[in-house]
Amino acid sequence: MAASLTGLLKPWTPRVLLVRWSRYNPYYLEPGPRKEVYHIPETELTPEQKEERELKSVRPIKAATNSVTSSVFNDPVLSKFVNMMMKDGDKIIAKGIITQTLENMKRKQVEKYHKAPEGKKAEIECNPYAIFHQALENCKPVIGLTSIQKGGKFYQVPIPLTDNRRRFLAMKWMITECRDNKHRRTLMYEKLSQELLAAFSKEGNVVKRKHELHKMAESNRAYAHYRWW
């Protein structure tokens, strides 16, 4: 009994201390991790940049998250993709899969480059980052569908999508496609690299899914006026 009472008298500190809260006072400014901004000398700043710098010296700044780096190789789209692929907070495994995918894509393209005849060599893209971005662009839907209730029934109504929503849908479809439709023995990075290369050349299941969504939206054109925003 004495042990539990002394335990209650101790000042309690949580085991994990939050450094960055997601809800900040709007007074706080965003951190700017890119180094180039700070290397510009005083004379070459535009008036807006000068204002921004003065503001930064006065106002408090939010803490930067762990995934944001000042590295030249930092890619926000890729980081988002890694976060979406992550399961149970295991970023090491997700990042590992993505790096293996990029390496695999580069190897396949370089081998294709070596085997191609002279005329075709210039067309083969060997940069895995360029392929990734282009493939994601090819998978983004232009128009989406949402369920709107009118007169007791639910209709699938075509709506415009924001940029973030389009990017999210492209990534989500890519990841679910690779998780569901792969052979038991194929590894994730292998399947992902196949799908990304197919999407780059506008083939494959993800691009097909985007086209089906577009067709559905086109066929439901009549309900477009159910949207009131």
């Binding site: 590295s71 030249v72 190789f73 790096t99 190897r107 370089v110 480059y113 060599k121 980052y129």
Partner: protein, 391 residues
């Protein structure tokens, strides 16, 4: 002192690193060749001039000299680039100069390559093996001694010795690769003793070694004993004056021979390394009681069993027993890339004449990116290779 020649150096793409330091006395290269490559593809003629430069292993030799023994990531790299380029580094050159000047009538010298993980020990060993095979030596290359002390599916009790165990699969694989490496020796070396395998099979005295090896590959059950016989014959005949050849024993991961195994007998008691025929015979080979060759060994923590991951020194990895058996040996430390070697490696990956840029990320070709690569990899060869693979 080192000369800095700016007028004769052709400006290189994207990299802004105009500080290429070349040794005094080097002739101007024709402009089509690059700073980091050398045309000297024969390891015997390479010298300090060529330190930090890549030489290409001729494709015709590649599969005969290295059927096994190259690190797996390097094999992938060779397949992607369609060429096998090895960097000329200080430890390998040192080893080759020792081998050139050693006295082969005295008992064998043992050389031990040691260094931190990923510093290039296996690649230096392969460079030395290439030198030995171009000089016409008989090369006994064991790709990884750890493969013999772990993950063995079939462990047969040995027919020759009651308490020992045989590993048929590993032994026959090794014999097959040995046959590919040393084709031309197999018909020249004759056996000096009669070997009896079963009641009906035996190999007579005076038969060529090739027959013994073929028998070992086809009769998988007695392949471990065949390996023992081959090693014994080579040991006896290496220093011989009539038709004498020099024998190079290259063992990767030699610390696996002394230590513990993960194999278990049928009553679940652990198997000690001495109880395996392959390990027993290989230990006899590493002893310096024969002459006419050299033993080049590498320590390896990567495949080792029950060794902490920060251990890289010989004393820690070999243990007491191993150190006493290897003592005396010539230690050859393998360090991480120096600045010049890092430059050379970076330019090799950036090279676009021989193969499309391996470093594809636009930022990796700038100064900033290069500084970041140095920081992330700490000039460790294998870490740099893995970084450049996805960048």
């Amino acid at each position: 002192a080192v000369l800095r020649r700016t007028s004769q150096v052709r400006p290189l793409h994207g990299s802004g690193c105009g500080q290429q330091q070349e040794a005094i006395g080097m002739e101007t290269r024709p402009e089509t060749f690059s700073i980091f490559r050398t045309q000297e593809n024969d390891p015997a003629c390479q010298s300090e001039q060529h330190l930090g430069q890549y030489y290409t292993v001729p494709p015709s030799h590649f599969h005969t000299v290295f059927p096994h023994g190259l690190p797996p990531r390097y094999q992938q790299q060779v397949k992607t680039f369609n060429e096998g380029c090895v960097m000329v580094r200080q430890p390998a050159l040192e080893l080759i100069s020792h081998l050139k000047r050693a006295d082969y009538s005295k008992p064998t010298l043992r050389y031990l390559l040691y260094g931190v993980k990923g510093s290039g020990k296996t690649m230096s060993l392969c460079h030395t093996v290439h030198y030995c095979s171009t000089q016409g030596w008989l090369v006994l290359h064991i790709p990884d001694a750890h493969l013999w002390v772990k993950n063995c599916k079939e462990l047969l009790p040995s027919s020759y010795h009651a308490s020992r165990f045989d590993q048929p699969i590993q032994a026959s694989n090794w014999l097959r690769n040995f046959r590919t490496t040393n084709e031309h020796f197999l018909s020249k070396i004759k056996l000096r003793q009669r070997y009896v395998w079963t009641k009906r099979e035996s190999t007579e005295e005076g038969r060529p070694l090739g027959e013994l090896v073929d028998m070992g590959v086809s009769r998988v059950k007695s392949s471990s004993d065949v390996v023992g016989a081959v090693l014994k014959e080579l040991r006896l005949q290496a220093g011989g004056t009539e038709g004498g050849f020099r024998l190079a024993v290259a063992v990767d991961g030699v610390n696996g021979l002394w230590g513990r195994t993960t194999l278990k007998k049928e009553d679940k008691s652990p198997v000690a390394p001495e109880e395996l025929t392959l390990v027993h015979n290989l230990r006899k080979m590493i002893n310096n009681d024969w002459c006419g060759g050299a033993v080049i060994a590498t320590l390896s923590q990567t495949g080792s069993l029950y060794a902490p991951s920060s251990a890289y020194l010989p004393q820690e990895l070999l243990g007491e027993e191993g150190f006493d058996s290897m003592d005396p040996f010539v230690p050859v430390p393998v360090s991480l890339y120096s600045e010049k070697e890092f430059e050379s490696c970076y330019l090799y990956y950036l090279d676009h004449i021989h193969f499309h840029h391996w470093l594809q990320h636009p930022h990796s070709q700038t100064e900033e990116g290069k500084k970041e690569l140095i920081f992330l990899s700490n000039r460790n060869p294998s870490v740099l290779e893995r970084l450049c693979a996805f960048l």
